[in-house]
């Protein structure tokens, strides 16, 4: 199997800006499937952020978790955290380093992300894609959606029975998926 230099969940880069509703979505975990066709020596996570139309001073923390799935339980394999203060409104890359060295093996992995901020609703946006279709959800086992329990961090394990599929009753954070790039 090849050794990769990068993995991105949306390689076509045709992204949409989602302004985050601070009140409803803090502490929610977005979970989605990403296939790894090769191995990756995991060092850095990158996302694209844009503060809202009014320059606002405040803080933002993003938490990224890499999870594996065994039967009906997700297990945390690695994580990375990002914190900054905003006082401008330019689109920018945000990069954050992993908590542990890991050569991610090929196969199914799950990207999980949540955030916390004190900037209020609509003053922070992240680029990504809408995944959910509007009128119902998918059949078969869980592979994308959100964790139904609000949490301040990344749990060591998550039961798929506690997850809401995209297109179900997921919040906006569960239906919209951030663009995420991992690099070696």
């Amino acid at each position: 199997m090849p050794q990769l230099n990068l993995i991105e969940n949306f390689p076509d880069f045709n992204l949409k800006l989602f302004n985050i509703d601070d009140d409803l979505e803090q502490g929610r975990l977005n979970i989605h499937l990403v296939n790894f066709p090769g191995s990756l020596s995991f060092k850095t996570v990158a996302v694209l952020l844009k503060p809202g139309p009014v320059a606002t001073t405040g803080s933002l923390t993003l938490s990224f978790g890499l999870y594996s799935l065994n039967a009906s339980t997700f297990s945390l394999a690695n994580s990375a955290s990002y914190s900054r203060t905003f006082n401008a409104n330019a689109t920018s890359w945000a990069t954050f380093a992993t908590s542990a060295t890991q050569n991610i093996t090929p196969g199914n992995w799950f990207f999980v992300m949540n955030y916390s901020s004190n900037m209020g609703a609509g003053v922070f946006g992240i680029y990504g894609k809408n995944f959910a279709l509007l009128d119902g959800t998918y059949g078969g086992p869980f592979f994308a959606g959100e964790y139904s329990i609000t949490t301040a961090g990344l749990p060591a394990s998550i039961a798929t029975s506690d997850c809401v599929k995209k297109g179900g009753t997921a919040t906006n954070w569960g239906g919209r998926t951030p663009y995420i790039l991992l690099t070696a």
Binding site: N35, K129, F131, L133, G136, G140
Partner: protein, 186 residues
């Protein structure tokens, strides 16, 4: 080789919809990164309902292997749905899924092809329509100048052939080459 739980051709639901032409069978490529036990299949569809009556449709998907210049049927699955709208034409965005494969199969890694053909009563309902969500509407004016990457039968059919010669396929234009979102899960 480790087993996969999921295999999808896009990590997101694409936003372009491509109308399904009744009785037209298309072959699209699908890479399987590692072995997967074929149990459930999901596609994304856009369905425009009709004020004239219920729309019903059946989508048949065949899993084909490619040997030389011929694709051969290894498995199949059928997705059916009937959507009721008595209040006027509206558009629904749906996941359609099915689990009844024609055979138990642990699909091996490599490039496979899906043969996709559908039937519906949409043509009887005036304003009804049904489409699959595909990755791109890019419409190349010439045929792909390399090995087989998919194409569409020019002869009308409602059934999945046991085998088909790739040289007999239309391989030009996004109507023949558009690739819909497909997710397999074990």
């Amino acid at each position: 080789m480790p087993q996969l739980s999921f295999q999808q051709n896009y990590n997101h639901m694409p936003s372009f919809s491509n109308a399904i032409s009744q009785g037209t069978l298309s072959f699209i490529p699908f890479n399987i990164d590692d072995s997967i036990s074929f149990k459930t299949l999901n596609v994304g569809m856009e369905v425009t309902l009709s004020s004239l009556g219920n729309i019903s449709f059946t989508l048949s998907l065949g899993l084909y292997s490619l040997t030389g210049n011929s694709v051969s049927l290894a498995n199949s699955i059928s997705l059916s749905r009937s959507s009721n709208n008595g209040l006027g034409a509206t558009t629904s965005q749906l996941y359609i899924s099915a689990t009844a494969t024609s055979a138990t199969q642990n699909i091996t890694p490599g490039t496979w092809f899906w043969g996709i053909v559908g039937t519906s009563n949409a043509s009887l309902l005036g304003d009804a329509a049904w489409s699959l969500y595909i990755g791109s509407l890019t419409n190349a004016g010439n045929a792909f100048p390399g090995g087989f990457i998919g194409g569409r039968m020019t002869a009308s059919t409602n059934a999945l052939p046991e085998s088909y010669a790739t040289s007999d396929l239309d391989i030009t234009g996004n109507d023949a080459m558009g690739v819909p979102y497909i997710l397999l899960s074990s």
